[in-house]
Every structure is written in structure tokens, then in C-alpha cells.
């Protein structure tokens, strides 16, 4: 809401490049355009990361690839005295729902399915919107990016649950919970989507707008 208002308020935002300066992404020191190395922290300064999109897409693809087996393979392997149960993420959620634990099922579904899928789509949207004009305002896309980056780490909650369960429920012959193969892939998927989100150079959002605005101003 605030963002919307902010976006509404500051519809014409001038980027640093337009001002002929470049900011260090690490220590936020602003330098004149063309400075290669930040004199304060020593990190490399570029106005725009040219390979950012490549990295985003590459990591995004790996994350997506990992997400497929993460959903096909069982996440949790529960062995009790009489039986061995292996559940995939969705299968486990459905089973919980059958047992009446709809709340938990929803949490699992949101944390393990909705959020990762949303992240994939958000990152893809952001990456595409850099090159193609979008109806979504630059400001909204910036907020989206920040949400994606913030929420990414919470996707690991599944992995935490599996890890904690596996370490706690080890009652020898009576019962044991072991992580399934999907947990590894799920963790990889989360890691790669997080890396993908991080690789995104959010400054490019403004370049597109600048172009749009430039063209509009030119026209």
C-alpha cells in the first residue's frame, strides 16, 4: 500500500546512471560514472551487471530442474514397526488433509508448493520484464523483487522440519523418520532460486522504465 502510494507519488524517478553517477553495491558510496573500483571498500563497481540476467536464468533453470524430483520423490520416509510410509510433499499434505489437519496441510502446501512456484514465476517475470515493457510499474516490480528475496529463505522451513524430525524420531526398531530423496532436491531447488533471485540486478528495472519514459518524453 505504502509502495503504491510511494509509486504514485514518485512516478518520475531518476536513476543514478541518468545522473552520471554509480553507486557501490556493497558500501553504497556514490562515485562518478566510469569508476571501476570503489575506493572505500575496494569492490568492483559496475553501473549495470551485464551478465546478471544470464545468471538469473541459469540458476532459475537449475532450481526448476531440482523442483521436479523434489515433488516426485518422497520427502519423508516414516518407518514404524509394521510399515514403512513414504510421502511426497503433495501426497503428505493431502493425507494430512484427509486426517483433518487442514491447517497444517495448508501451511505445507503454501510453504512447499505455492511459495516456491510463486518465486519461480516472480523471478521469471522480473527477468522478462527487464527486456520487455510491462504494465506493472517499476516500483511495484522493485517491491516484488524485495519480497521474493525476503521470502526465499523461508522456503527452507520444509527442510528444517525434515531435518528436525529425522534427528528426533530415531527409535530404532519401533519407529524412524528419515529424509526422503526429495528433501535434497527441494533444498537444492530453494538454494538455486535464492541464488537466482540474488543474481538479479534490480537496477535494470529502472532502465526499462527510463527507456519507456525516455521514449514517451521523446515522443
Amino acid at each position: 500500500m505504502v509502495g503504491m502510494e510511494v509509486a504514485g507519488q514518485y512516478s518520475n524517478i531518476i536513476s543514478a546512471r541518468e545522473l552520471g553517477v554509480v553507486a557501490c553495491t556493497r558500501c553504497t558510496q556514490v562515485w562518478p560514472a566510469g569508476t571501476a573500483v570503489c575506493s572505500r571498500c575496494g569492490s568492483t563497481i559496475v553501473a549495470r551487471d551485464a551478465k546478471s540476467l544470464q545468471r538469473v536464468w541459469a540458476l532459475w533453470i537449475v532450481g526448476l530442474m531440482c523442483y521436479v524430483p523434489a515433488n516426485l520423490y518422497p520427502m519423508l520416509r516414516t518407518r514404524t514397526l509394521l510399515s514403512v510410509q513414504e510421502d511426497t510433499i503433495v501426497g503428505g499434505a493431502v493425507e494430512l488433509m484427509h486426517h483433518g489437519a487442514i491447517g497444517i496441510a495448508l501451511i505445507i502446501l503454501i510453504a512447499s508448493v505455492v511459495i516456491p512456484l510463486g518465486k519461480f514465476m516472480a523471478i521469471a517475470f522480473l527477468a522478462i520484464s527487464v527486456t520487455r515493457p510491462s504494465s506493472v510499474s517499476n516500483h511495484h516490480r522493485q517491491i516484488l523483487y524485495e519480497v521474493v528475496e525476503y521470502i526465499g529463505r523461508w522456503s527452507m522451513i520444509d527442510i528444517f522440519v525434515v531435518a528436525i524430525m529425522s534427528s528426533l524420531v530415531q527409535l530404532n526398531t519401533l519407529a524412524a523418520v528419515n529424509p526422503g530423496r526429495a528433501s535434497l532436491f527441494f533444498a537444492l531447488s530453494v538454494i538455486f532460486t535464492m541464488l537466482s533471485a540474488q543474481a538479479y540486478d534490480s537496477r535494470m528495472i529502472w532502465d526499462v522504465q527510463a527507456k519507456q519514459e525516455g521514449t514517451t518524453t521523446d515522443e
Binding site: R17, E18, G20, R48, Q54, A58, V62, M65, C66, S83
Partner: protein, 694 residues
């Protein structure tokens, strides 16, 4: 705004984008490569999918139920579906690649479930882990197959349980317990599988397996019988309950025995019969149903009741067949008369003849024909002493009438018959009884009684009692004339006769101890001789005794008496001695003793104590002999008297009448002596006649 470096950087960036792609692309490429590699590998490692059709699901679960071979998982069920017509359940099993080639056309599959039976618990592990599919196949790669029909039960023949596969079949009216053990000497050596009823419904058939190496116990002549349940019998040995083992008592079981050794090994698929008990099984060896029986017939000359259908036909005591029909036959053309003959139809089992090579009716007929030419004959014999009934025995006969068996189409070959051997024991007993019955005991007793009666009559005769007196008178009368010359010749004759008697006596005395009987007879003979030699009148008595004993009572007593009377009148004086007087008393005592002995013989055990009787008789005879021992002395005296008489008679020429009388008396004495001699000889030859009275 007016800065120019910006487009330059973009330009360079675009150039570098095309020329040098980010290294980060390696990651997805690597991931993709790995994924593809893994995918390819898993695809490559994946074995074939086979389809096993079961009657029901039996707890088979997708991706859970394993396929096991020798208790090692070699596959997993990927899917369970119904067959198209819902008549069964199909389990799709993903095999492990390394065992897949072995799962060939000969494989079989079944579901292992927990099972509780009388033999124990099996498949217990599946209670916790769930069922699994067990498969069995051999170690050879055969023609591949991907669709199988699952077995409803655990098969008998499987890996690690190899053995001889046979088929068991119940006999008519018999029963069979399926899924039960086959034991031998109490050890389980095989199993009976699922039984089913034959198409005709007449018997039950079950697959069975005899595990290696016990399968070598099975041969063609092996017989199986049921050991299930128990038998209860009450007999002379007490009540008896018999069952082979608790397991078989509850669930049934079979056992077997090879009664007749046979070298013929049995191959898979051989069919055996299951008998109700051991006896039936044993009998069946000789009643083998594997060969057609040879039908023959026997015609017996006599029609004897007792031969029934199913009576055994035996060769050397060994049952080789049975009687299948009995009828009477009258065939004047064939047998020459119209007597009713017994026609017995018999079935001979070729297998029981012990033919080594070809067990067939033809071979049996050939064998029997040869034997019949050698003298094999049929006869009727008693089957059982107690139960009676008859059986047919084939026996070898010495010097039989030659006979050739006629064979040909429509001709039932005939086994010639011979004399029957019926009721052996009965006949023997009867024979013994009849022989005892035929013993002339009655006659013997009658003879003895007659003899004794006659003797009694003789002895109690008044005239005889008077004899010594008369003889004494006679002797007194003739004492003067006995020394006559005419009488001289008499002593010579007498001497010779007496000499013979004495030698005979001596011989008899010598032989006295040879046998009891001979001794007794000898004694009796000696006594008789003594009597004969001592008294002139006595020989007649002895002769009469002999005649009486010989049951030839031809000599009338009256004649003897008159003769004696006539003799005594002339020889009265001679017998006036005390010794002569005593003689009849001694004889009487001896005869009384004999009488008593014979009475004892008659009254007592008769035949049983013949020995005692004989010894008694001997004693009696001895007594007679003793009483007559002093007779020779008497005889010498008589001789002296006679000499004197002879001289007297010679001196008396006119005493011719007396002389004639004396001569006739002497002739009589001479005759008597001769008779005595013959008696003695006869006794010598046949001593028993004294006892038997003839």
C-alpha cells in the same frame, strides 16, 4: 543526461554477451547432464516389467510388495490392476535387471502369506512386513516370457526343494488328504500338493513331490498308503491304538514302502495309487493293476462246495491271482461222462509271477504253459483251517500225464487239475481217530475173555479136578506093568520129544531176556512144555488150551474129558504123586494171575499201558514157568514108572487090552507132544499170539 559513456558501455556489454557467456551456465548444463545421466542410468538399470495374473490381490500393494527369489528381493510390484474381465488381478512387477534373464518360461510365482496349519506356521514374517510374491525359476536362461499366471498355492517343486514329481491317485472309494506330508520311517521326505477330483469324479488326484535324495526310494513297485487318522483294534494282544504321528493324525499323511525290489527308477509324472492301509498296499503289489490279468480256467473232476469267487490262487504259497467265477460244467464230449465238474475261472496277475522282462498276460501264459508241461497242476486246497473255504493251489506233480496248454483266440487256457488236497488237518485228525478206532481192542478183549472163560471152565471142570485122583489110580493100576518090554520103546520116543522140548526150553530160557514179550512168551511156552512133559493127560489140556487160545474150540471138552478119563483110568497110579496133585493148583494160580492181568488190561487203560500189561503177563508166565520147573523131575519119575509099566506089560502077555490102552494113551501122548511142539514153534514164530489169543 548528456553523458555519453552510457551507450558505450551498453555497446560493449552487448558485444561481450554474445562472445562470452556467463560461466554460471555451467551449473544448469551440469545439472541437466547429471539429471540426464541419472535418468538414463536408471532407465538402463531398470529390468523388464512382467505381468503376473493372480486370482486375487492377496494384499499385494503397489511399489511395496516385493518379488522375492530365495528370500531376496529381486523386484517390486509397480502396479496392480484388474484383468479386462475382472476375473483376476494383474500385478506388474519390475524385475531387477540381473535376474531378469532367468525369469523365463519355466518360472512360477505365488503369494506368500502367513499360514497356520497342523504342520506348523509358515510365512510368519509376512505378518509384519506384508505379503510378498515368491518366484522360482531355474538357473538356466530359457525362452523369455513376460506374462505369467500366478499360482494360488505354494508350489511343491521350487528352488531348494527339488525332487521327484509324481501323481498320486486314490483307489476306488479311497480318500486322500491334500497338502500333507509324505513320511518314510517317520521322516518327512515329500509332500502332497493340492488335490483335485478327476474328471470322471471317480477318484482324487494330487501332485506330490519326493525330495531329493529320497526320491531314489521310489520305484515302480512302490506303494503309498494313508497313515492319517488312527486305527483301534481289540485282539488277543489287548486293545491297540495306532497312529503314526500327531501331525498325520490331525492333518493326514502318506507313507510308502517298496515291497518288491525293482531296479526301475521312476521318472517325473509317474502316477501311483494311494491305498487305505498297509495291508491293502502290500496286497496290491501282488494284485498290481498295472498289467492286464491273464484269464485261465481250471476244471476239477469233483464238484466241491467251498470255492468262492475271490478265493486266492496260489503258486508256491504265493498269491498270484484270484478266482473270478465258479460254475458247474457238464461236457460229455470233453470229459467222456456226464458228471458235473467244477469249472473255476481264474485271473492271474502276470506281475506276481516274478517275470523279469515282459510283464504281460502273454508272457505269463508262456511261462505257465512251460510250467504246466513240466508238471504244474492245479488243485483245490483248504484256504483256512478256521474259516474253511477253498483256494486253488498250483503245485508241481511228479510224473504227470503230459498236457499241453491250448491257446488261441477265444480259448480260455485250461490248467489241468490234480488230486485235491482238502481239509488236510481235518483229514489227518479223522485218520488218527479212525485208526485208533480200528484197533482190535474189542476183539483182543473178547479173545482174552473167551480164553479166560474157557480156562475157567476147564479148570473148574469136575472131571479135571478128578483127574489127578484118576491118574493116581491109573498109575497105581499100571505101576506093575509099566516095565513091560513093549513099553521100552515109549521112553525112547519120549526121550527124543523131551530132548527137543528141553533144547527148546533151554533156548527159550536163553532168549528169555531178549524182549519182555518174548520172555513172557518163552516162559509161557516153557510152562506149557513142562506141563506137556510132566503129565500124560496134561498135554491134552495144553492142547485144549492152545485150541482155546487159537479160538479154534474144535476139540470138544467132553471128548477130552473122556479121553482123559480113559487115560486116567490107566494112568491113575502114575499121577498119584504129590507133585502131580499140586500141578493143577499151580497152573490155576498162574492162570488166575493171567486172568487178573487180562482183566486189568480190559478194565484199565488197555492200550496205554501195554508195557505194564506185558510185564504182568511175563510175570504170570514166569510164575507158570516156576511152577513147572520141577516138571522134568516128575517126568523122569513118569519115565521110570512107564519103564516099569512097560516091563510089567511086557511080562504080562495077556494084558493085551491094557497094552492096547496104554499104547493108545502113549499115542495120544505122542500126538500131544507133537501138538505141543507145533504150539511151541508157533509161539516161537509168533509170540504175540499168546497175548492176542490167535
Amino acid at each position: 543526461m548528456s553523458d555519453t559513456p552510457e551507450p558505450v558501455t551498453i555497446e560493449t556489454a552487448r558485444k561481450s554477451f554474445a562472445s562470452s557467456a556467463s560461466f554460471v551456465w555451467i551449473i544448469p548444463i551440469l545439472a541437466l547432464t547429471i539429471a540426464l545421466a541419472v535418468a538414463w542410468q536408471s532407465y538402463n538399470d531398470r529390468g523388464p516389467l512382467i505381468r503376473i495374473e493372480f486370482e486375487n490381490g492377496a494384499g499385494i500393494a503397489k511399489r511395496e510388495t516385493e518379488l522375492r527369489f530365495r528370500d531376496v528381493a529381486v523386484g517390486v510390484v509397480e502396479d496392480v490392476k484388474f484383468t479386462s474381465n475382472l476375473k483376476g488381478v494383474v500385478a506388474y512387477v519390475r524385475l531387477d535387471k540381473d535376474v531378469a534373464p532367468y525369469v523365463d518360461i519355466g518360472s512360477s510365482f505365488w503369494v506368500v502369506q502367513p499360514e497356520l496349519s497342523a504342520q506348523g506356521v509358515s510365512g510368519l514374517e509376512t505378518v509384519l512386513s506384508g505379503v510378498y510374491i515368491e518366484g522360482t525359476w531355474d538357473g538356466d536362461v530359457g525362452p523369455a516370457q513376460s506374462e505369467f499366471k500366478g499360482l494360488s498355492d505354494t508350489p511343491l517343486y521350487r528352488y531348494g526343494k527339488e525332487g521327484l514329481e509324481i501323481t498320486l491317485r486314490t483307489t476306488a472309494g479311497g480318500s486322500l488328504t491334500d497338502d500333507s506330508p509324505i513320511t518314510f520311517r517317520g521322516i518327512e521326505v515329500g509332500r502332497v500338493g493340492k488335490a483335485y477330483i478327476s474328471q470322471q469324479g471317480s477318484f482324487a488326484v494330487a501332485e506330490a513331490i519326493i525330495y531329493h535324495p529320497h526320491s531314489r526310494l521310489i520305484s515302480e513297485t512302490t506303494r503309498f498308503w494313508d497313515t492319517s487318522g488312527f486305527t483301534f483294534s481289540v485282539g488277543p494282544g489287548g486293545a491297540e491304538i495306532d497312529f503314526s504321528s500327531f501331525a498325520t493324525l490331525v492333518s493326514g499323511g502318506l507313507t510308502f514302502e517298496t515291497f518288491v525290489s525293482s531296479s526301475k527308477r521312476v521318472s517325473d509324472g509317474k502316477s501311483f495309487e494311494v491305498f487305505a492301509d498297509e495291508d491293502t498296499a502290500r496286497d496290491s503289489v501282488f494284485n498290481a493293476s498295472q498289467a492286464e490279468p491273464l484269464q485261465m480256467r481250471v476244471v476239477f473232476d469233483e464238484s466241491i462246495s467251498g470255492l468262492a469267487v475271490d478265493a486266492p490262487v496260489e503258486l508256491s504259497g504265493f498269491p498270484i491271482g484270484r478266482v473270478t467265477g465258479v460254475s458247474g460244467v457238464i461236457d460229455a464230449d470233453a470229459f467222456g461222462d456226464e458228471r458235473v465238474r467244477l469249472n473255476a475261472l481264474i485271473d492271474i496277475q502276470p506281475a506276481r509271477l516274478g517275470l523279469t522282462e515282459d510283464v504281460s498276460p502273454e508272457a505269463a501264459l508262456q511261462f505257465l504253459s512251460r510250467r504246466i508241461e513240466d508238471g504244474l497242476r492245479a488243485r483245490l486246497a483248504s484256504a483256512s483251517l478256521l474259516a474253511g473255504g477253498l483256494k486253488i493251489q498250483l503245485v508241481e506233480e511228479d510224473n504227470p500225464a503230459p498236457y499241453t496248454v491250448q491257446t488261441g483266440d477265444g480259448i480260455i487256457p485250461i490248467i489241468p487239475s490234480t488230486d485235491n488236497d482238502i481239509s488236510d488237518v481235518t483229514a489227518t485228525v479223522a485218520g488218527v481217530v479212525s485208526r485208533i478206532n480200528n484197533l482190535p481192542i474189542e476183539e483182543l478183549l473178547d479173545s482174552a475173555i473167551q480164553f479166560l472163560n474157557s480156562a475157567d471152565t476147564l479148570i473148574s471142570n469136575e472131571d479135571l479136578r478128578e483127574t489127578p485122583k484118576a491118574v493116581r489110580a491109573l498109575l497105581g493100576d499100571v505101576s506093575d506093568i509099566v516095565s513091560s518090554d513093549d513099553m521100552q520103546a515109549i521112553p525112547v520116543k519120549l526121550n527124543t520129544a523131551l530132548g527137543r522140548f528141553e533144547t527148546l526150553l533151554a533156548q527159550l530160557e536163553k532168549d528169555q531176556f531178549s524182549t519182555q514179550l518174548v520172555a513172557a512168551v518163552n516162559a509161557a511156552a516153557a510152562a506149557a512144555n513142562g506141563v506137556n512133559a510132566s503129565v500124560e493127560g496134561v498135554p491134552d489140556l495144553v492142547k485144549l488150551l492152545q485150541a482155546v487160545a487159537a479160538k479154534a474150540e474144535t476139540l470138544p471138552l467132553e471128548e477130552l474129558t473122556t479121553q482123559l478119563t480113559s487115560l486116567t483110568t490107566s494112568a491113575d497110579a502114575i499121577l498119584g504123586t504129590e507133585a502131580a496133585k499140586q500141578l493143577p493148583a499151580d497152573l490155576g494160580a498162574a492162570l488166575t494171575e493171567i486172568n487178573a492181568t487180562l482183566r486189568e488190561l480190559r478194565e484199565g487203560g488197555a492200550v496205554t499201558n501195554i508195557n505194564a500189561t506185558l510185564s504182568s503177563a511175563r510175570k504170570a508166565a514166569d510164575s507158570v514157568a516156576t511152577s513147572t520147573q520141577d516138571l522134568p523131575a516128575l517126568v523122569t519119575r513118569v519115565q521110570a514108572v512107564l519103564n516099569q509099566a512097560n516091563q510089567t506089560i511086557a511080562g504080562y502077555n495077556k494084558g493085551e487090552a491094557l497094552s492096547r490102552e496104554a499104547q493108545s494113551a502113549l499115542r495120544d501122548i505122542s500126538k500131544a507132544a507133537e501138538a505141543m511142539t507145533s504150539l511151541a514153534r508157533m509161539l516161537e514164530r509168533n509170540p504175540g499170539s499168546l497175548i492176542r489169543g490167535r
